[in-house]
Every structure is written in C-alpha cells, then in structure tokens.
C-alpha cells in the first residue's frame, strides 16, 4: 500500500515535469515564426559557420542559416507530423478495431493476424520497405508511419468492443437501466483511456524518432526544410570544425523522445497498464 502510494507520488512528479517540458515545446512549436530570430531558410554565404552571436544565438550552418531558427522551426515538423500520425493512426485503429471486435469470426481473425504480422517486424524496417515502394519523401514517410502504427490502437479498440459485448458489469449496467451514453462515459471510457494514453505518448516518441531517422537517411524531409534529423545529416561534414551543428538538433530529438518515454512509463506505472 505504502509502496504503491510512493509509486503514485513519484509518477505524479514525473508526469508534472514531463507536462511542463511538453507544454514548453508546444509553445515553441506554435510561436516559432514570432520567436525565431531569423528566417530559417534564408541562405547567406557571407555568414557561414559563424559562432554564436547576438544576431545568431546558436551560430550559423554551412549555408549561413541561423541554427536556432532552424531548430525552432524543426520542432514544428517533428511535433506537428507526429501529432498528425497519432490522430490518423488512432482513427484507422478505431475503425478497424471496432469492426474486428464487433463482427468477430473470420474477419476478426484475418485483421488480428495482420496486426500480429505488422507488430512482429520493427517499425523502421516496415517503413523503409513501404518508402522503398512509394519512393522517398516526407509524404511517403508519414503515410508509411500511419500504415504501421494503427495496429496498436486497433488492438486496444478491439478489446474495448469485446468487453462491451461480454463483460458482466456492462450487462448489469444495461439491466439496471443506465443509458447508452452513461455506460460509455462511466464504464467504457475509464477502461480504454489508460492504455490509450500510454500507447499515445510512447507512439509520439517513436514517430519523432522514426521521422528524424528517415530524414537523416535523406529519405524523409527534403532540404531546405529545417528538420532535426536532416540537420544532423547536413552538419555531419563539419564535425571537426563545428560539432555544435549536429549536437543541438540531436539534443532536441533526445529531449523530446526522453520526455515522451518517461511520460509513457510514468502513465503505465500509474494506471497499471502492462507495457508490451
């Protein structure tokens, strides 16, 4: 009892801390055009590879572009597209999971075996395979990520529908005259929200990591668009003279991924959700 209370307190702290970091990042993402000191894609070769100064707080890259501005705008790409992937894979998962759970039978079997198959392979391998067919580019990477990540949500929603069909307390609530809306609000949502929250936060971290990895390989975001993985790719040639060019964007990726992972872990500890 005391240990579980301690775990709760500790996870509470972590959740608060992570939420603060994430809201800070969210503000950066939204306000990037107003707080960025310079145009992130304005090339100025006379100013290339400058150290940090008042005009360029983190210096400039090999094309004289402001590193800080590029990092701020890069947050828009990473967080923005990760959110897009989250929402759309949640939507696909909702539809597929509901159909599978509701219809049951062979359709359920086929859909769930498909999910097993997708889950068996690491995401990046599937994404690379899909990008191999569709061709390199940000749109294709986003599409590939959506096609891979919906399976986790489909599982959760299928479980939800099954419990809706079979659980005794749902039947009991129905018999005792609860309205459909009340059953959903009181019994279904509290059950489905914790795994969804855990899955969602962990998935945001993976999506950001995968987008930046693909951009690093040159298959995702195309220049001159600022993106953290692409910035590391561009900065690697200057590792001897200007290591900060690859250091800052890497730190940002790690900060975001660590925050999402910590939050996901704290939430799963808090709600007692088993991680896969």
């Amino acid at each position: 009892m005391i240990t579980s209370l301690r775990i709760m307190m500790r996870s509470q702290k972590v959740v608060v801390l992570c939420s603060i970091i994430l809201s800070f990042l969210l503000i950066i993402t939204i306000l990037a055009p107003w707080i960025a000191p310079n145009d992130p894609i304005a090339v100025n070769l006379a100013n290339k590879l400058q150290p940090s100064s008042f005009e360029y707080p983190l210096g400039t890259d090999h094309l004289g572009r402001c590193t800080l501005s590029r990092i701020l705008y890069g947050a828009r790409i990473s967080l923005g597209f990760a959110t897009l992937i989250f929402i759309s894979s949640l939507g696909i998962g909702l539809i597929v999971g509901t159909i599978a759970g509701y219809k049951g039978g062979w359709l359920d079997q086929v859909l769930m075996r498909l999910c097993d198959g997708v889950m068996a392979f690491p995401n990046l391998l599937l994404i690379l395979g899909l990008v191999g067919i569709l061709g390199p580019g940000l749109k294709q990477v986003i599409l590939a990520l959506m096609l891979v990540q919906w399976v986790y949500y489909a599982r959760i929603f299928r479980g939800m529908v099954l419990s809706l069909k079979e659980q005794n307390y749902i039947a009991a609530a129905k018999i005792s005259g609860s309205s459909q809306w009340k059953i959903i609000k009181k019994h279904i949502v509290p059950n489905v929200l914790p795994p969804l929250a855990v899955m969602g936060t962990l998935e945001m971290g993976w999506a950001i990591m995968d987008i930046s990895a693909m951009s690093f390989l040159g298959l995702g975001v195309q220049p001159p668009t600022p993106e953290w993985g692409a910035m590391i790719h561009e900065g690697k040639s200057y590792i001897r003279t200007n290591p900060e060019l690859m250091l800052y964007p890497g730190l940002m990726i790690m900060l975001v991924v660590v925050t999402f992972n910590l939050l996901g872990e704290a939430l799963s500890e808090r709600f007692g959700v088993k991680r896969r």
């Binding site: 067919i133 390199p136 990895a213 690093f216 590792i239 250091l247 890497g250």
Partner: protein, 314 residues
C-alpha cells in the same frame, strides 16, 4: 520431439510463400515500370517497341499467377533479378556486401551479450543497489537516444578529440569498435532490462526457496537455478530483435560509411532499384522467420516443458 521439429519446419513454408506474394505485389504496386526503369538505366531512349520486347523478356506480359509461380521458382534458385542500376544480378551484389554487415552485426551481438548478461543479472539479484540504478539509467537512455546521433557523438569524442579510432571505413578491428558500440547500445538497453526482469521474477519462485531450505550454496542457486532459467527469455529476445539489429545496421552503416548491405538498400531506395528493394525485404523476412524457428528449437532444448506442450497439440 522429432515430429514437432518437422511440423515447425513445415509451418514456415506457407509463411515464405506469403512473403513472396507480398513482395511480388510490391513490384506490381510500385509506380516504377521495370522495363522502363531498365532501359533508362542503360541510357536507352525507350520506344514502345523496345518496352514491349523488354516486358516480354521479363515475363511481364504473362498472366499474374504464372508470373507469381515463376518468381517463386526463381527465388528458390536465389535469382532475385537484375539490378536496374548496375545491370548485374542482385544476388551477386548482395553476397558481395553481406560479409561487412554480418561482421558488424556479430560484433554488436557479442558486445551486447557480454555487457547485458552480467549487468542484468547483477541488477536483478541486487535490486535497488547502485548497479541496479546504473542498469536502469543505461536501459532508459539506450532506448531513447537516436542511434545516428550517438554514432556522431562517439566519432566526435573518440575519433576527433581523442584520435583513438578511425572516423569511418572498414578494415582493422579499430574500425569495428565504434560502429559496434553504436549498434549494441539499444540492444544492451533491451537485454539488460529483459534479464533483470526475469531474474527478479525467478527469485520469487518456490523452487528457489526450496533450494535455500535444502541448504544449497547461494552461488550454486544463482548459477544453476536463477541464471539458467532467467536466460531463456533473453534468447527469445535475441531472436525477436534480429529485425531491430537489421534496421540498426542500415543507420549505423550510413553514419560510419560502412560498405554493407544496409547502405546498398538505401541507395536502391533512392534510385528506385525495385529488384534490390524486393530482395532486401525478402531476405529480412526470411531471416526473421528462420531466426524465430531457431529460437523455438533452442528454447525447446533448454526448457523441456515447451516440447511437451508441442506434443500435446498433436
């Protein structure tokens, strides 16, 4: 037990056929027309006549099911077609690059096992000690750090600043150190975590208590009972994560300019070299299926309960 092994081996055949079907569908879904890609790679201005001739040569004018059967037969003979780019058989190109990737993968697996087995075991038997906290920190950051960035950090510290290891390339054992460490860290994170969890779980088992009441020496209990049983989920993890290792090699090869299969695959994606992409996907699937089979068989040898379960299914 023999029939169980045979059954498991037979069961992978339909999975292989399905994987071939998927990659076969991939070529037909891809917007690249093989005949056109082939001609443009050879710098020939494609005319309708030549396209038709090439399509006939590739067998693309035959009905789909005939093409599918043909591709199965070809793949069984390790014929993955001809690269659009280099005009050479894909399989030759792949086998030429494979040893470098295998070297890298083996290096990091060995490193990962050497680090994570003692670390995970000690962290498990000494819960909440300093080494346990260290192992948890390592597993957390190992899972969160992007490997391409880690690679450059290592290059920066150990090659540029300290000048201990070469920046990139292949050849001596020094060349292998940094890429292997980069590739091994996520695996170390995973295996340490797995082993720690399974040691903790094992310590709760009644047979440990029984062994202790019999007065068996603690060292013997740890070595014979805890570690031996606890290692079993790790072997599963090792097999299950070969795929992770594969994607890892793609990124690490890009960072360290390692002339392996992964870099070849990325180049193929850029050049829309579909036969190479198809070959990579098929080999990845094959590796995956076979490694799962091997893991199952090893598990069966370690833990006789599994084969008995297999027997019950018959």
């Amino acid at each position: 037990m023999g029939t169980y092994i045979l059954k498991r081996i037979m069961a992978i055949i339909p999975i292989f056929l399905l994987a071939i079907l998927l990659t076969f569908g991939m070529i037909h879904l891809s917007p690249v027309d093989p005949a056109e890609a082939y001609l443009s790679a050879a710098h020939i201005q494609p005319t309708d006549e030549m396209l038709a001739q090439k399509r006939h040569e590739f067998g693309l004018d035959q009905p789909l099911h005939v093409q599918y059967v043909n591709s199965i037969i070809k793949i069984c003979q390790f014929d993955f077609g001809i690269s659009y780019l280099s005009n050479k058989p894909v399989w030759d190109e792949v086998t030429y690059r494979m040893p470098a990737t295998i070297q890298l993968a083996l290096g990091s697996i060995i490193l990962a096992v050497l680090v994570s087995v003692p670390l995970g075991f000690l962290a498990g038997i000494k819960k909440n000690s300093g080494i346990d906290h260290f192992s948890r920190l390592l597993s957390f950051f190992g899972a969160s750090i992007p490997s391409f960035w880690l690679g450059y950090l290592l290059i920066f510290f150990f090659s540029v600043k300290l000048d201990l290891f070469p920046v990139e390339g292949i050849g001596t054992w020094q060349h292998l150190v940094l890429p292997s460490v980069t590739l091994a860290l996520p695996l170390i994170a995973l295996y340490t975590r797995l082993l720690r969890a399974s040691v903790l779980e094992n310590l709760q088992e009644p047979y440990i208590l029984f062994a202790r009441t019999r007065g068996i020496h603690e060292k013997v209990i740890m070595g014979k009972h805890v570690l031996r049983i606890a290692i079993s989920p790790m072997i599963t993890g090792l097999g299950m994560n070969l795929g992770k290792l594969l994607t890892g090699t793609i990124i690490v090869e890009a960072v360290f300019s390692w002339p392996g299969f992964g870099r070849y695959f990325i180049e193929a994606i850029f050049n829309r070299d579909v036969p190479v992409i198809q070959c990579y996907v098929l080999l990845a699937a094959g590796l995956f299926i076979i490694s799962n089979l091997i893991v199952d068989l090893i598990q069966m040898c370690i833990d006789p309960r599994i084969s008995r379960k297999g027997g019950q299914h018959q």
